[in-house]
Symmetry: C2
Subunit: 340 residues, 2 copies
């Protein structure tokens, strides 16, 4: 109701308790001092409902730690990044830090703008999913996650995109498939490029010169990249499956692309004839018919690892920048086990 009343400050507490400002500060920071004074001060605090202003405290304190970090992702609304955010926040909270999140929407200009906005709030560090036009190294400790930065060599936590793709393609080959289609994301994205590399690397002869169709070696017509979103993937999958000598299996390298391919297979009635392995898990994947076999990432783990690395830097770790790689797991549910 009468909310216009000023927040009480340490000065108010000191006046009410009849002690000096610095004594209140000491007590608030956990050094009891004389028991009777501590008592009076605590009573005054309770009476006034005093709460310490963390920003003013940060300003003066010698370590200047704001107990807050920034998280810059492409889009918090995307479940993958949301899970990363969850992991970051979890570790931050353990450390008593709060997390400021911002979505760059893959726009480098916005990314820069948000990074400086966070830096202006004096965050202790930054966890960043970098966009294509990555900014130079920042003044504040930074750990990159999910994608490496373009120019700097810096602390980075990545999914094993290459290994995951190899596992997917190897799995399909083990079920007899030799003509395996690849549907991938924008090729400028590090993750997309790595997954394509894994796909190419699991073919028996990765030499780009040899493209012997019958042996299951690389056939460029089986590779579709730069698909943006589910609809584009649907179209590409339909075209691939309707073409001459169509693939007997698909590897879809991103979650929206996977859903597009699933729809395409159903639309053509091929969901039980053409095998499919997707990169990144999806809710309901097990409820499909057939169940969807995927290479699952561990986004929460990714976020946790990035945050831990960041806090070790904040704590003064001056070692060389390092890169951590989080493994994937192949989740077998049916769609990937359809034999040729």
């Amino acid at each position: 109701m009468s909310a216009d009343t000023r927040r009480p400050t340490m000065k108010d507490v000191a006046a009410l308790a009849g002690v000096s400002l610095s004594t209140v500060s000491r007590v608030v920071n956990g050094d009891p001092g004389r028991p009777d004074l501590a008592r009076r001060i605590q009573d005054a605090i309770d009476l006034l409902g005093y709460e310490r202003d963390h920003t003013a405290s940060t300003l003066r304190r010698t370590d200047r730690a704001s107990a807050s970090i920034g998280l810059l992702v492409a889009d918090v609304g995307n479940p993958f990044f949301a899970a990363v955010a969850r992991g970051v926040e979890e570790i931050a909270r353990e450390r008593g830090s709060v997390t400021m999140v911002a979505s760059s929407d893959e726009d480098p200009a916005r990314e820069r703008e948000l990074a400086t906005a966070l830096a202006a709030r004096r965050v202790d560090g930054l966890v960043v999913v970098p966009t294509d036009g990555s900014p130079g190294p920042a003044r504040v400790p930074t750990v990159f996650v999910d994608r490496p930065p373009r120019y700097a060599d810096a602390d980075t936590v990545l999914t094993d995109n290459f290994g995951g793709a190899v596992a997917a393609v190897t799995h399909l080959r083990a079920h007899g498939h030799r003509r395996i289609g690849f549907l991938g994301d924008r090729s400028t994205l590090h993750t997309a490029a790595e997954r394509l590399r894994g796909y190419l690397g699991s073919l028996p002869d990765p030499s780009p010169a040899r493209t012997d169709l019958s042996s299951g070696r690389l056939d460029p017509s089986l590779v579709r990249t730069d698909l943006e979103g589910s609809a584009a993937a649907f179209d590409a999958a339909c075209a691939l499956l309707r073409g001459d000598d169509p693939p007997t299996a698909l590897f879809t390298a991103q979650n929206l692309i996977t859903t597009g391919a699933v729809r395409a297979l159903r639309a053509l009635g091929l969901q039980h004839r053409v095998a499919l392995v997707g990169f990144d898990d999806l809710p309901l994947a097990d409820a499909l018919d057939p169940g969807l076999t995927v290479v699952a990432q561990q986004p929460v783990t990714l976020g946790r690892a990035a945050a831990r690395l960041l806090f070790s830097r904040i704590d003064g770790d001056r070692a060389e920048p390092r890169t951590e790689v989080v493994p994937t797991t192949l989740v077998v549910r049916g769609s990937g086990e359809i034999a040729r």
Copy 2:
């Protein structure tokens, strides 16, 4: 490399430009003053790479606005809340504010703790998804979202849970169903209670005294509440469908419960015989067989509305607390149109 160099301050800029501190402040805040000085100051700023400390600025400024808000949800990792967060952040960014998000994990103690942590950072306001044990009204402007607070009457933005449930059940009744099973979440949750109320309200005779089975009026054995998670929903759905006189349709009132029911129907081979409408949309819902008919929420809209309401309060809107209701939409995909 040599990162231990202190950040430049306004004082440094003033010294380099040969002007007073207050002149620098004016220029930084957009009042040019004498052109030659403004020029010298701008050069000094560029040379030093000066960036204004937003926290110190907040401390001194008379409006005390920190240009940051807090968002307290059950779990950012949950796609629904992630979408809410996205909506909130979008509006905040338009206003030049950053968003600090924190996950309460439905724990009232943690909720309180996080709320004070955010308040200590002097956020301008709070958007909160309240837990069961809601805290009293806070000292900082607060808007509740997705669920109403328990004790205060305060600004709130809600999904039309009742209306959505009515739409779902009405839809099923229109396809001839009279025995409709209800599977719901923890009944202490406002959302769960409202959806149950909607279910009950769409039966022809909502009087709890009359439970005429043959007419499709309320049969208590068709209602299962307090299901926590997908597995519990799976079990409950199986039990319901295997019982005597089983329902011919199901209304599942939460997304995890929906996935459990989908699995149960498939496990029993009933997915084409028993109708299903779920509350809250899911990725891949259209790729199921049959496609999953749902009552879709608009979480991003929810977040946007909450943030807009919050900023109007921050801007000094002193009107009575209000409640906004965001409508749902019925997305028809097949599972809800199976006739009796």
